[in-house]
Structure formats: C-alpha cells, structure tokens
Symmetry: C2
Subunit: 188 residues, 2 copies
C-alpha cells in the first residue's frame, strides 16, 4: 500500500536488532488519516472472509484495528496485558514474548467478548516473528471461535512470521513488507 510504504521510507528509522522506529505515525504518535487509509485497505482485502469480529493486542494494534473495524462495521476486541477491575473472572489467557521488551507478556480477553463459532479476523500493527499473533490465535482457539484471517500494517519478512502462521490456513495480508534491515537499511 503506497501511502504506508512512502511514509516508512520517509519517517521510519532502523534502530538496529531488527527494531523499526515508526513512532511518528503508527505508535506513540499516530497519523489518523494514514491509519484510516490503512484500515480501508485491510477492509478491502478481508471483505470476503465473513469476519464477525476483529481481535488485536493492546496497545499499538488498537488504531489500525479500530480503523479496519470502522470500514467493515465490526466490533474490535483488544487483548489486555493486565486484567482490569471491570473484567469478570472468566477469561481466556495466554502469554507471548514481547519483541522489543525481551519478556513474556500476558494476553487476556474476557469470555464476554469472544464466542464459540464466531468468525475472528486478527489485525495488528506488525507481523514480525508472528509470536504475538500466535498468542491471539490461541485465545481464539480457547474460545472455540474460528480464525478467518490475519492482517497487519507492516511485515518484517526476515523474521519469519508468515511462515509460522501458514499452518492456520487463513489469508495473511500486510500493507508494507520489509525484506531486510541489515547494516542500517530499511529495504522494502
């Protein structure tokens, strides 16, 4: 998707160790107009999958997921990393390694909001190792819901997430693919 690719080329920074700094337009500072265009693009790519709900992970998945949900007319559930006081006892829970923090993080969804048989589309900001996405897939499985697609804004192809997630047999769509970040490059 051209607008996102151009923006990464202009404002993205390679911090080394595969870390892409995009906090001027995706996380920390968000460009809502760009996110709206990305949401529309993801909505078009997944228009055929019959999703009934979008699942993402807090924090930086929220903006792209909500914009995609606005175009598809679907509710968005974001997995929490801590259980808030408003959440009831029955939850779906798993853990996934944080890509940038080097620790395991909790992913928690209330059983009120993901239901047996529900068709779930996962949307996140990054598809990198795929381990966070796979954590979300486990939550879908715990709820006996049905995964119907996986989408992300930015794919770091060299981290292998797409290959890992191929086993789930659903369409995987990303809007910008980074093929190499060696030697300070950001090769799209």
């Amino acid at each position: 998707m051209d607008a996102l690719i151009q923006r990464i080329m202009r404002d993205g920074r390679n911090l080394g160790n595969g870390i892409l700094k995009v906090d001027g337009f995706i996380n920390h500072q968000v460009d809502p107009v760009l996110m709206q265009a990305c949401g529309e693009a993801l909505a078009q790519r997944f228009a055929h999958v019959g999703a009934q709900k979008i699942l993402t992970a807090e924090i930086s998945g929220i903006a792209p997921a909500v914009m995609t949900g606005a175009f598809l007319g679907l509710p968005v559930v974001y997995a929490r990393k801590k259980k808030p006081v408003t959440m009831p006892t029955k939850v779906y829970h798993t853990q996934a390694p944080s890509h940038t923090k080097g620790v395991m993080v909790d992913l928690i969804v209330s059983s009120e909001f993901v239901h047996m048989g529900e068709r779930i589309l996962i949307i996140d900001d990054f598809l990198a190792t795929g381990l966070t996405t796979e954590g979300l897939v486990r939550l879908v499985q715990q709820a006996e819901a049905q995964l119907v697609g996986i989408g992300a804004l930015v794919e770091k192809q060299f981290e292998g997430g797409r290959a890992l997630l191929a086993q789930y047999g659903v369409p995987i769509e990303t809007l910008a693919t980074i093929v190499n970040m060696d030697d300070g490059k950001i090769a799209l």
Copy 2:
C-alpha cells in the same frame, strides 16, 4: 450525544465505587462505528480552537482520540505508561493516580512529538476526577506547548473533574454526563 447516551443506558453497568463498566463498546471491546460518531461530534465541538495536535493517554483514550484526529486531520500522541525501546532519552514525564487500579501510573511523552507553542487538544475516554487529564496538562506545560481544549466521551460529574480543570481556562466538552451512580444507578 444521543447515540453514546443510549448505549450507556443499554450496555453500561454500575460495578459500585463509581466504576462504570463500558468494556463492551469503549474499552476492551470497541464499537468503531460509535467511536467514529463520537470522534465526529468532538471534532465539531473543537473545530474552532485551532488545535494542531491531539494528546491522549494509553490505552482507552486511543480509539476516541484517533477518531477525533481523523475528522480534524490532526496527529494524535498517546502518552505511554512505560518507556518503549524506540523512545529517545529526552521525554516529558509525570505521574497520575489510576482511577481503577489504586496506584500511580507514569505518563511519558517523547520530546520529539510535542513542541513549544504547539496548540494541544486533550481527548480521553473518561473525565472523572480529572487527575489523569491534569497529568496530561502537566506534559503540555513541560513541553511549553499550549493547551486549547479538553474533551472526553463520558463525564462522571460527581467526581469533580470539570471543576478541577476549570483553572486552565479552556473549553471542556463531553458527550455523555453521568450525574449519579449511587445505589447501583447510572443516572444520565
């Protein structure tokens, strides 16, 4: 704003101690179409203030702030509660008490994204005690930026936030006002 008020009346739950459960449409599960309508309503109310940027706090402020930003064509910065690896050394930092968690939380903004003289509109999900909002105001002041307005989806009038924030002399706009939550009520 009628759609939000109706939704609170239908799906909101009074959990006691002034805690309003709205996690079926504002936090945890988000209704993007409702959030879009709320963003449009807030954008209309603040169209005249000449804002250049929107500031909110993660996590549940992101959806309403991004939707408001989409209508106003403005970038949105969300204060982080933890400093990510992509954030540089120079930050604006304060603390505010969490309403529902009973602890102090950090509010951190990179100096890259709030600038001296910039006209800042604060948007959040709740206006309750006003203490989180006041934390965001301190970040605006640290950056020597200029606060031009404060908006929220839901105001809990009985917690006094509006009175606390009046000292800053900017328009305060909320879309649904809850006047009383005693005895299990949600009185709008």
